[in-house]
Symmetry: C2
Subunit: 201 residues, 2 copies
């Protein structure tokens, strides 16, 4: 039962695969139809037009990451521990939703108003999650940055960039990278006890 829904979902999955590797403009409806072993017109039956498919992809892509990430700030933990957990989870989820996230960053430009809306909402949601974590740190007296917003952007930059350079087949495990990134975000490059910085030189 519900075999048809399966195909619709599979269509979104295949579209994510192709959009993420070839881009939106670089992937034709025919490419997707061939990869699905399905007729072109059937895709139009499901999603109306190519952009409808992209919107379905964007919505599907935003759900998983935002929902799972949104659970972290509600956990009853020490602010600092919760913050560390947020970073580690975000890195793990990014690896899991690699292709989906790529689409968000790949075809930002030629997007319909509705697509832009979904895109902005997703990015805002994620930013707010990190901002809340940072503000909790501030209340607890940890945060030393002037602007929590810039700090949040910096954190997102680090995490999203890791998505570009990290290779699973390399020498570093994702846990190694995750630990190092958490340490970087907490202490920067000078460490928590830098030499000759706080002295009177």
């Amino acid at each position: 039962m519900a075999e048809h829904l399966k195909n619709k979902e599979k269509l979104v999955t295949v579209a994510i695969e192709l959009f993420s590797t070839r881009g939106f403009k670089g992937t034709s409806i025919r490419d997707i139809a061939n990869a699905m072993d399905m007729s072109i017109s059937n895709i139009y039956h499901y999603f109306g037009n190519k952009e409808g498919l992209l919107l379905a992809v964007l919505e599907h892509a935003s759900k998983g990451l935002v929902e799972k990430l949104g659970e972290i700030p509600q956990m009853d933990l020490d602010p600092l521990e919760r913050f560390k957990l947020l970073i580690r989870t975000h890195i793990q989820l990014s690896e899991f939703y690699k292709k989906e996230i790529k689409i968000f960053f790949l075809d930002e430009e030629h997007l319909s108003p509705e697509g832009i809306k979904i895109n902005n909402q997703t990015q805002t949601d994620i930013l707010q999650i990190h901002l809340k974590a940072l503000n909790d740190l501030k209340k607890a007296g940890y945060l030393q940055c002037k602007s929590a917003t810039i700090a949040a952007f910096n954190i997102l930059g680090i995490i999203n960039w890791q998505l570009r350079w990290y290779r699973t087949d390399g020498s570093l495990t994702l846990e190694d990278v995750s630990r190092e990134i958490v340490s970087f975000i907490l202490h920067g490059i000078l460490g928590s006890n830098p030499p000759g910085i706080e002295s009177d030189s």
Copy 2:
């Protein structure tokens, strides 16, 4: 004199403008020809095919940033000051070469082997510049990170991400952001004298 070279250069400039806003696949040769008020075939006379134009764009784009950024590590300064200068300069240059950099990150996927080569070389060059600065910091006893490479990637992530979220018409000046980013990179979010971190809890 040399009126023909002018047009060839202008062609690259217009291509950068269009590629950066609509993407490579999203920009047709006709779009560029129309924007230049020039015939289509003339573009082929200059660059052979569409990809030749993209290669010219990539080469033009990589030159400016890498060359100017490469001057910093050779300066005779205190390692820490030189590092700060590198970050600040990189941020300023990123704003200046915004469109060019966008192309490097936009159409990474559907790129020819030669295009990939240029892309990789450029990214490697920039990474090496930052790695050198970090190693100089290490020699001087400043750097506390385990992996200078990951730190370099994190720095690139922060800078390149700033390119996405910073708006010139916002309330923050680029200098404000630059200062805050330098501080973040140096001290992280906990600051140089974080409370209760080094204690025995």
